[in-house]
Symmetry: C2
């Protein structure tokens, strides 16, 4: 079914007319505290899944929340069967909100703010990552159905609740339901635009290895006056291990860490140079001015195409008010590695554990806890769906859509390929300053509104 | 007034007969949650001070709780005026109880436990440090008054509530009340016995410099996928600073750190060697087997006569359940240095701050917070009070009392000397495994009972 310009115009007009209702629905979803990593919020995760099921059923989808050993997976299918089959993926779970004191408003009571430049944003945990983004697709479907009674292509949705918690339940769910979920192409809305006026499709994603280590020295906390110097301090042991992970030139020191890392092809580098990326502005937006990491690499290279090692959290000893002269028994850290194409998560995890074990004194011990592992992804840049989607985005934003890399990790893309044999298009409307995973997360109303319109156009483009 | 053997025997018999009541009183004092470092417990600190005032007034002391800008100071004077004048010092405040999960019983509901070897202990926060210890002296006074109607020497008490919180209010209080507080000798009960059968008087105490640092890199928490490598991670900066504080040989790296540290005289080393200190057993009691710190120094030297640098606490980023791929804006640590005789707290603090500042990247910042500073103390080993006290302790324990050093810091000893011109005798009955500052703090009933008897004898000895 080819979509006529008049039909598409009517759908886009419907998106515009219904925007206030769309925002009300997003606000209702944002009010559900679906923090997947903290088991105290398990019931909230179930509520978020059911909210989505109810909304999709109301549109005419056959939708249900499927039980897993963790949080439920929402699966929905439209009754329309013409055209290619697309599987849209999003996640309804969100990051924890701490430090809560740094939020200016309640993280679960979304508010719309207007800054001095007239930029309007909706502020809440999950506004961007990923409730706001996933609702752009659902609202586009709603507008199509309202105007046309049906969708221009065959649409299924897969909305999970463990993306932020390294959950391991989605891959077996995919395996068990492969025939139901397999489509011609997967669509993921969990990435950024290039900037506020330039749409983009991401074709490179880094992988992730998450590790938590806990070092135990003494059998109990000790008095630092009585045992200082003589008793091993796990804070010191942990700090020395962390310090040893980076060389003076900023490179990661694990043996073999860069062995499987390829240089970015000159052609791709040339395209990146054409993007006019401004390192100074990128860092300044975060309050920084001096690039860290590998001193010989550009910031864009470092964040898109180089592996990382970051200390996401560490704690040991007395950290409350005042002072306590203690030598703690234990210290721990959460450490993640972003991987680029070619690197093996298992190999990097093993190298890290060996590096740590070799630095633990003989009378101390260490335990490791795995928090997810996924390889990097490179999406083929020549498919028909990619070309159709680029054209649709260019039409909506009146500016050529670009192809970009991303520093983030979206393991599901690898699983779509390995389990379901599908390629994925990563089309997102987030901005770099959305504060995802941070206090005061936000999503531009422009991203939301034109994101909905973009999906309406992409679905039309796929119809041919 | 010389004390007759019959009088002393009657006093000691009274101590024995009243022991159950003494334990009840200690239990009541231990129930008060006088955690000085946390302002949430300020009212509890006032209650502990008032409890002591009431108990001392009931014995006939002129006692009162004196206001300070922080927690009150309890001052008491006995009406008896004969003989030398002693000022007893103790502290009624206690350390925080975290991690609470590691306590086997309620830290503020004292219980008496008997281990497999028949050793009986009272378990509670403050059981040893310092409520149990200070009550040994108060109970000795009570027994003297019960038997004799008066004390054998002139006794005053000074009981503070900020010893565990680096409080700065006691020195100005001493200055303002110098004439009232000045005595012939100060007595402090806040130290250990050599072992469970050998009494000791401590004549060397280390000083303390407490510092808290907070490192700020980005203006907000960042997503490690988006900013990893390129944005400076304060966890990494802090870990590198901490790692740089110790050299591979275990020595502290601050420039000039050991410049003013004297070697222990050979005669003192010889006496220490005679103590038969067992390094292996000392470490084994804490669950360790390999000495840390300066590899060329014995454990006894390291803990008694060498300065230290210990990381008492550190925190940065996400430390809750699960995982969060964040690059935090800030990371912080609490770091303390124990100083030996000759070292200047101001000089060490300045060297530390310079060391830290020189390692902060130009686009990041650091703030420092001071948590106490005191020089080390060496008590003259030849005074008449020291000789009388050693003889009294030897009489009670049927074993020669020994003179020892201590790794701990008791700043008030320096203040007694500098502000009031008094020397101090450090006589304590704690054991090395009392778990002070740790979960399941305890005090031997033997320490409590024979500690009371020891003070009864010491007061008699001072009477000549």
């Amino acid at each position: 079914m080819t979509v006529s310009p008049a039909t598409l115009d009517a759908v886009l007009a419907q998106v515009d007319a219904d925007l206030d209702n769309s925002l009300d629905r997003l606000t209702a979803l944002l009010a559900i505290q679906s923090i997947s990593t903290d088991s105290a919020f398990a019931a909230d995760c179930r509520r978020a899944a059911q909210w989505l099921v109810d909304d999709l059923v109301a549109q005419g989808f056959a939708a249900s929340a499927r039980a897993t050993p963790g949080h439920p997976v929402v699966v929905a299918h439209a009754s329309a069967t013409q055209g290619p089959h697309v599987l849209f993926y999003g996640h309804y779970d969100v990051q924890p909100v701490d430090p809560l004191a740094l939020w200016h408003t309640d993280p679960f009571a979304a508010v719309i703010q207007t800054d001095a430049q007239g930029r309007r944003t909706i502020v809440a945990r999950g506004a961007s990552d990923d409730k706001g983004q996933l609702m752009t697709f659902i609202e586009a479907c709603r507008a199509w159905k309202a105007v046309n009674g049906t969708l221009p292509v065959r649409v299924s949705l897969l909305l999970e609740g463990e993306e932020e918690s390294g959950g391991k339940n989605l891959p077996p769910f995919m395996v068990a339901n492969a025939d139901e979920l397999r489509a011609d192409i997967a669509l993921v809305c969990d990435t950024d635009m290039w900037d506020r006026t330039t749409p983009s499709i991401t074709t490179m994603l880094r992988g992730l290895v998450g590790e938590e280590i806990e070092i135990t020295c003494a059998a109990r906390d000790l008095h630092s006056g009585m045992f200082g110097n003589a008793a091993r301090n796990p804070n010191q042991v942990l700090a020395e291990i962390i310090a040893s992970l980076r060389a003076p030139d900023g490179s990661v020191t694990l043996p073999g860490f860069y062995d499987d890392v390829a240089e970015v092809p000159d052609a791709v580098k040339a395209q990146w140079q054409g993007l006019g990326f401004n390192e100074t502005a990128f860092l300044a937006e975060a309050g920084l001015s001096i690039p860290a990491g590998e001193s010989a690499r550009s910031v864009l290279e470092q964040t898109w195409s180089r592996p990382t090692c970051e200390i996401n959290g560490m704690i040991g000893g007395y950290t409350g008010d005042g002072f306590k002269t203690v030598i703690p028994a234990k210290a721990s850290a959460k450490i993640s590695f972003r991987l680029v194409s070619g690197m093996s998560p298992d190999k990097i995890r093993a190298a890290f554990r060996q590096h740590v074990r070799s630095r633990i004194p003989a009378d101390c011990s260490v335990t490791f806890k795995e928090h997810g592992g996924s390889a990097a992804i490179t999406v083929p840049a020549d498919g028909i769906y990619l070309q159709q989607a680029l054209a649709a985005l260019t039409g909506e934003w009146n500016k050529d859509a670009v192809i970009t890399g991303s520093g983030g990790s979206i393991p599901v893309v690898g699983e779509f390929k390995s389990i379901l044999g599908m390629d994925t298009l990563l089309i997102g409307f987030a901005q770099v300053d959305d504060n995802i995973h941070s206090p005061n997360e936000k999503y531009d109303l422009d991203s939301f509104h034109r994101g909905i319109r973009s999906w309406a156009r992409v679905l039309a483009a796929f119809a041919g």
